[in-house]
């Protein structure tokens, strides 16, 4: 399936994170079954790692759950973006697509949409399910490593993910509005990080999207046409 093939590079980039999530869960005191269920059911890398850190710090349940909500609230944006296509699907397909909807699946579907101009359910599920499988296998390997070796520390895994998102965003800048989206959301994200604003990611993304919308509406020059008169 094309979707599964297209998501492979990103899936490989997140394997170290899966290993980390699995071994950290064991280190935190979850049973191997609980650790695997975390990846099987929650299926959200950043939220899982944050929750495990909070459990290690003996944080209250409410703090853990609100961190889960805040970290995964960016998915609300994807959910809104795909509302029109999701409403055309039968209920069980809507559930399946929502369950599999991750940053990585979203990035791959949008890439496909940019190329072909259409949304394809089979393609989306193929990509989403391949990613689910690899994330869970990586978590399982991490659980086993955690049981055998113990502590596994971070080794700059996050850079592979950053490089991947850079490689997807930069070539997609094809208009002044998209450039504004990238610059504004990047700048806002840095500011929210420096001043530890809660839910900075969603604020930065919405700020960037809104400025891009204004640019598109009031100053809509195609960047390609401008550079080659």
């Amino acid at each position: 399936m094309q979707g599964a093939i297209d998501i492979l590079p990103i899936s490989i980039a997140i394997i170290p994170w899966g290993l980390l999530a699995g071994s950290l869960a064991i280190e935190t005191g979850l049973s191997p079954l609980q650790a695997q269920c975390l990846s099987l059911l929650v299926f959200a890398g950043a939220a899982q790692l944050a929750a495990l850190n909070l459990i290690q710090l003996a944080s209250p349940v409410l703090a853990i759950l609100s961190s889960t909500f805040v970290i995964s609230s960016r998915h609300l944006l994807y959910s809104a973006l795909y509302r029109p296509v999701a409403l055309a699907l039968p209920r069980h397909r809507r559930y399946l697509m929502a369950f599999l909807l991750t940053d990585e699946m979203f990035a791959v579907i949008e890439n496909y949409r940019a190329k072909t101009g259409r949304f394809d359910y089979g393609y989306a599920i193929g990509a989403g399910f391949a990613f689910y499988l690899i994330w869970n296998l990586a978590s399982l390997a991490g659980i086993l490593l955690g049981l055998i070796i113990g502590d596994m520390t971070e080794l700059g895994f996050d850079f592979a993910v950053a490089a991947l998102f850079i490689a997807m965003v930069i070539p997609a800048i094809n208009s002044r509005a998209t450039l504004v989206a990238v610059l504004v959301s990047g700048l806002l994200m840095i500011l929210t990080q420096l001043y530890t604003v809660p839910n900075g990611l969603v604020l930065a993304a919405i700020g960037g999207m809104f400025c891009a919308f204004l640019t598109d509406r009031y100053w809509p020059v195609d960047a390609n046409k401008e550079s080659s008169p």
């Binding site: 590079p9 980039a13 975390l38 929650v42 299926f43 939220a47 459990i55 349940v61 853990i64 759950l65 889960t68 995964s72 609230s73 960016r74 998915h75 609300l76 944006l77 994807y78 959910s79 809104a80 973006l81 795909y82 509302r83 999701a86 409403l87 809507r94 559930y95 929502a98 369950f99 940053d103 949008e110 700059g156 850079f159 592979a160 950053a162 490089a163 850079i166 490689a167 997807m168 965003v169 930069i170 070539p171 997609a172 509005a177 998209t178 989206a181 990238v182 504004v184 990047g186 994200m189 840095i190 990080q193 990611l201 930065a204 993304a205 960037g208 999207m209 891009a212 919308f213 598109d216």
Partner: protein
């Protein structure tokens, strides 16, 4: 038992965030303005995900020019703008990152 409840609650929260707007019971249709704002979701969210990894270090602006994240991040942006092909860009970026990590 506590941990099982926690896992279940987390699973419900992440599913809710992904499903929220898919529900037909949510009575609203997305206005054209909102639709055209949403078309910028990909560049905005993906940028907000990678920018802090490259430019922020422990709550402060990353100004160490020999920092592998900053250096390799800027190289990756430049390579990406030149090649416009994701896979070679990632490979070059990660190679530069590991080279920088080894030398600093």
């Amino acid at each position: 038992m506590m941990l099982w409840l926690l896992i279940a609650a987390m699973a419900l929260i992440t599913f809710y965030n992904r499903y929220a707007f898919f529900s037909p019971r949510l009575k609203f249709s997305i206005r054209p303005e909102i639709q055209s704002i949403l078309q910028f979701t990909a560049p905005a969210v993906l940028t907000a995900l990678w920018v802090p990894i490259v430019f922020v270090r422990e709550g402060a602006l990353n100004t160490q020019w020999n920092d592998p994240y900053l250096l390799a991040g800027l190289v990756t942006v430049a390579v990406s703008a030149t090649l416009k092909k994701p896979l070679p860009t990632v490979l070059i970026g990660v190679a530069v990152f590991f080279l920088c990590s080894m030398t600093t």
